[in-house]
Structures are given as C-alpha cells and as structure tokens.
Homo-oligomer: 170 residues x 2
Amino acid sequence: MTQTEHTPAPNPSAPVDGWHWEDFTVGMQMSFGPSPVGREEVIRFAKDFDPQPFHLSEEAGKASLFGGLAASGWHTAGIVMRLMCDGFILNSSSLGSPGLDSLKWLKPVLVGDELRARMTVLATRPMNSKPKVGLVQTRWEAVNQRDEVVMLIESWAMFGRRHPGYPMQL
Amino acid sequence: MTQTEHTPAPNPSAPVDGWHWEDFTVGMQMSFGPSPVGREEVIRFAKDFDPQPFHLSEEAGKASLFGGLAASGWHTAGIVMRLMCDGFILNSSSLGSPGLDSLKWLKPVLVGDELRARMTVLATRPMNSKPKVGLVQTRWEAVNQRDEVVMLIESWAMFGRRHPGYPMQL
C-alpha cells in the first residue's frame, strides 16, 4: 500500500458562517481522525455502560469472538461521534438527530487500534413541519489502521437552514 | 393513571445456568430500571463524545429544540445498554452484537428524567456459520417517568447455544 492510497481527499472548506443545511450536497465526503483507542478509556466506558467481560479484560477479550480487549460497540459509536463533532458538527447549525437507519458493527475494535471516520452525504430534504430546518442523511464509516471498515452507520441529522423555506416562520 | 398501569409484568426467571439462545422466545418481554439521568453524567458524557452546546448547559439546552439540558442520544443508548447488562446480559452467554436495524430518538431525554427499559424478543434464528451461536432480534424501548417512549431500537445480538446445532463443533 502506498502513502497515496492512505491520503484522503481534502475536506471541503467550512463556510464562513458555519455548515448549514444548504451546504450538504449528495456525494460530498469528509474524513476525520485518527483517534487512538486507549485501554483506560475502553475499560472506563465499559464499566459505565457495557460491563461485559470481553470489554473489561485482555483475558476475557482473547477468549471471546473479538480475540482481544475490545471496545464496546457503543464506545466505538461515541468515538466516531466525537470525530464528527470536532470535524464539522460543532461548526454547524446542528439541531440533533431523529435517529439511525442502520448501524453495523463489522469488525472488533481492539485496544491499540486507531479509528478514522469517513462521512458521505446520501440525501438531503427540507423538513416539512419546520421551515427553518432541513434533514441530511449520511453514511458514517469507521475505519481502522488497516483500512478495514469496522462500523457502518446510516444516520439522519437536522440542520438549521441558512434560507428558511416557505412558509416562513420568523 | 393508576399504580397498576405502571407495574410491569414480572420478568421471566433466569435459568440456573444463565440466559442462553434457547431461552429467548418470540414475544418474551423483560423490563429494567429505572435509572436516573444525572446532570454531571450528562455533561461528562457530552464532553467526552458529543460536546454540542445543548448537551453541555441548561441555557443552550433551553434555546434548542430539546427545551432543556438534554442527554446525548448516544448517552441514552449507553444508559439503556447498562440496564440491559444488569438486567440479563451479564447473566447470559452473550457474544456481542452485529448491529442495529434501526434506532429512533423520539423525544428529548432531559436532566432529572428517569429511564426504564423494555425489551421484547422479535425473532430468533441459529447462526448458520457458527453452530454454537444463535441470533436474537429484540426491540428496546426506553421509557421516561411519564411513560413516553423516548428511544426505540431494533437490535440483533449473538448468544451461545446450550445445545449447539448441527454440524456439531465441540
């Protein structure tokens, strides 16, 4: 594998007033990270939210289908959410999310891995009930240091519109 | 609303050797909780994984669509995962999950709320590639103190089988 294959395309520049609904166009991609997956963080998250043995110790992780001390899938989602936040959501008109169409945990995420996130815009549409709000459907891929997709999410998010739709509600 | 309406049916008793794939039957329900949603926990989770303003301060939360300091949707999922773990997963042959068919964040989860979780078995099937493993599809409802469903998940999980299927791999 050459260095070139690892270099993501440069992310689109953020608009001066931050990302709004109008700025997300179908096919647009952004990449974020990497973020290391640390042992302490994995165990702390597991103790709080998902204390299954294979998320708490190397021994139990090795004896499991994961083959090592593995991050909770919910932790992986949190790590990717944080990459998305730092990458563009905190500089946007984000209004939250109504949910996910699907979430697949495809491969184990083990302590020592590094995760990158790749976001692709799949669809956009106005929100009929709220003229100031638009919906954006995105695919999130979490990719490890071997370029394996470890988690795949299809998600909807709400963003404020720069130019509210008709009927106007000002 | 009467007390009776709030009283969930008693959960099925756990088998002496813990929950295995064979013990999950379509239509089976279990209820867990409540778990309080604390201010410190909401802010700490947000700082780690989802630092959008409406998850960090009352002021920004009140100004948002949420109407108050709101837990990250990923935090809500974590709280419910923990209720499931304490309720039955830690006393089971759980082998992790391949993913979710859907996740809906239906209503805000605000600081001071209390969440219960209701799990319903939707389907079960053997895992063809692994005779010692079976799959269970479940619906998870997160319900607040006003009996509103705030989050709805349809999920698949893998459990060890008490009686491995053919071909046997012992």
